[in-house]
Symmetry: C2
Subunit: 162 residues, 2 copies
Amino acid sequence: MLYTIGDVSEKTGLPAPTLRYYDKEGLLPFVNRGNGGIRKFQDTDLEWLRLIECLKASGLQIKDIKRYIDLFIQGDTTIQERRKMFYDQKECVEEDIKALQNTLDMLTYKCWFYDMALELGSVEAVKNLPDSEIPEKIRKLKAKINRMHVSSCQKKSIVKAG
Amino acid sequence: MLYTIGDVSEKTGLPAPTLRYYDKEGLLPFVNRGNGGIRKFQDTDLEWLRLIECLKASGLQIKDIKRYIDLFIQGDTTIQERRKMFYDQKECVEEDIKALQNTLDMLTYKCWFYDMALELGSVEAVKNLPDSEIPEKIRKLKAKINRMHVSSCQKKSIVKAG
DNA sequence: GTTTCCCTTAAAGTTAACTTTAAATTTTAA
DNA sequence: TTAAAATTTAAAGTTAACTTTAAGGGAAAC
């Protein structure tokens, strides 16, 4: 099964110029061309795109993903380096998830806060609520948030891959 | 307790020029100035910075955060809009966490794959492994990944906040 | 056949969030 | 009192990842 760039764009949701940009940056070295120089994508190319999007989501930059593809092309001598790349990225993503969970705690607290503000008619009224009126769950959240530092909601993703 | 911009930079890890940039963009309207025009941060300003970093981590842009601060300054008439903002962002972050968990599944699989490749000496050997040699956990992961679309590891964070 | 898509490239433009620079002023330490 | 360190501003520069534009070529619908 062969696909044009338009087919792939529709299948993946990535704009065709983005796919051409990825190709230009060396992220799609396996995509063949037809007579008139027209790209013919295969199912394996769609799998590559899925991996590329995953690596991007994990915080890797285009040039780092190209680095991985270059290593792949070099073959089995680069297994160690590729392995390290995935372990490093896994660690980054685990930290990102933790950071996002802190962010989610803050947002959950704020959602409760503004639910109450809407109910009581003012922000001040919520601030003046006695502790006994605040659900246990929210009190714990508030305490956790107060222990947080600025850096606990920041991402660590950017790492020199290699 | 009052802090200079240098103190705050050290406390938060944010470079002083970044703090000035936030101020210029209207994110720090509560920071007072001394005689010579020098910023005097208070503990409440540090709390604002913590909220700002959380909102940034949730995917909000600077201008959206400014919008929130403007709404805050306007007072209780904007409670509904602020509430909606937090609910929208909460939803975004929940989706981001799900996407990152898909990314993590892919990376976990790849880590196993390259552990095996290192052990067996080649990528091909891992591809040729009979199903019976693949741990149940990894087989499930592989099946899950095969069901994934490109979009399942993409972030949804960017939303017109309002 | 021709018109209309869809494809191609190269190159310029966009955007957000800083970051750097330069020049001036203020504060702090000796 | 003076020198060093930190602060101020405005403005220009940077970076990544696209996105848009322009100019052209080949295949399918009518």
